[in-house]
Amino acid sequence: MEQTVQFFSGFNVNDFLFLGEAAGRTLLISFVSIALGTLLGGLFGWALYEGKLFATFALAPVLDVFRSVPLIIQLVLFYNFAPIVGLRLDPFMSGVAVLTIYTAALVANVARGGIEAVGQPMRRAARSLGMTYWQDLRYVVLPIGGRAVFPSWVGVALGVMKDSALVSVLGYVELLKASQILITRTQEPFLILAFAGAFYFALSYPISLYADKLERRWAQ
């Protein structure tokens, strides 16, 4: 990728496009990881709520580990140890794998909170209408609990998008890595970091706005 950039000393339009492309990669890796992590996290949250022995004694501690070990350590460890067990993943796939698990660990607690927010009486009312366990989950718990914890989930998602910058240590050219490359060449760190920051903002602000709009619509 770097080769396509011409070696000017100053920051130019091509560099800006290069940053834009990198922002696209930040968005891609974040989107994939958040989507997969949310699905997995929802499943984990449900398991935690149902609280079978396995969930309490095996799942919960593992999720705690992934929540508390700094992401950068997880990334480096995974990237270096995955090949040993026969997983040959490129930086993108490695980043997706680690970010997905990390997101899932965070979303698991959010999801459990969402299920708890619905409450037993509401669920009994649903069951009393003849809904099955799964229909109750799908048509009552998911929408009601989901809305209750939606703001927390948006917080997790925006956090993961920012944290995806750490995948740069694996050499994946997302926004931060792209900025570092340009800084090395142009020696204009402030300008470039300001641009990179602006890109991050441009990625997350619409999401915040849209989330606010949704919440307001649900609140009526």
């Binding site: 009994r124 069951r127 009393s128 003849g130 809904m131 229909q135 929408p143 649900w218």
Partner: protein
């Protein structure tokens, strides 16, 4: 017909129902009165299988509710239930609240589910609120919504658990009127209630619960005018 015989139910060490025998005929309206904690709600939950039982049997139209091979989801379609807290689904409009179960449980096509919902909403006097969200309704309206929601499953029995206890006094009447209407239409009903006027005027029989047992059961005339049990008299004198 609902037939309950020798029903025992406990939560852990706490014995809540201690040998209930009761039969409710098709078309009958039974009111259940008694002090709080005497097991009235628990009885209703056992009847539609929301709570497991320890001993005895409950049969609805001959089907053993707590038998292993009973399809509870199917059985519950026969048994509408209305709770003290109305539990309307806040994310759905009034119409969707009522149409949801007909659509996903009875598997009616969307249009038919909507028609059923409309019919029941008009039945309880909410025909002009179908596009509102429950949050915009009063407690009395939400409780009538809950009644319509249960009726949309076209149940053969309705179980009411203190349907008016959580309502502001001025809203109690509209819900009782709806229940009275159902009774007049011939619905079979078990109503746990603190509304003695309703119990006296509407029910065919009244059961007085005391500490997990039916202390006395009989026509309203007997319970309110000529109770055999001292406990019944004492309970009634206290709440009046």
């Amino acid at each position: 017909m609902i037939e309950i015989s020798d029903l025992y139910k406990s939560f852990g060490d706490l014995q809540v129902l201690k040998g209930i025998n009761l039969q409710v005929e098709k078309g009958e309206v039974l009111s259940v009165i008694g002090a709080s904690g005497s097991g009235k709600s628990t009885l209703l939950y056992c009847i539609n299988g929301l709570e497991p039982i320890q001993k005895g049997s409950i049969k609805v139209d001959g089907v053993e509710v707590h038998a292993k091979d009973t399809d509870l989801n199917k059985l519950r379609q026969k048994l509408g239930m209305v709770f003290q807290q109305w539990n309307s689904f806040p994310h759905l409009t009034v119409l969707e609240n009522v149409a949801l179960a007909p659509r996903i449980v009875r598997k009616l096509p969307k249009r038919d589910a909507r028609d059923v919902a409309l019919k029941q909403l008009e039945h309880v006097g909410l025909g002009d609120k179908i596009e509102s969200y429950p949050g915009a309704l009063s407690g009395g309206q939400q409780q009538r919504l809950a009644i319509a929601r249960a009726l949309a499953m076209e149940p053969e029995y309705m179980l009411f658990d203190e349907a008016t206890s959580a309502l502001d006094p001025e809203l109690v009447g509209e819900v009782l009127d709806t229940m009275r209407l159902l009774a007049e239409e011939g619905m079979t009903m078990i109503c746990v209630t603190h509304e003695m006027g309703f119990a006296r005027d509407v029910s065919d029989r009244v059961a007085f619960f005391h500490e997990g047992l039916i202390e006395e059961i009989g026509p309203p005339k007997q319970i309110f005018g000529d109770a055999r049990s001292e406990r019944t008299k004492k309970f009634l004198s206290k709440i009046r």
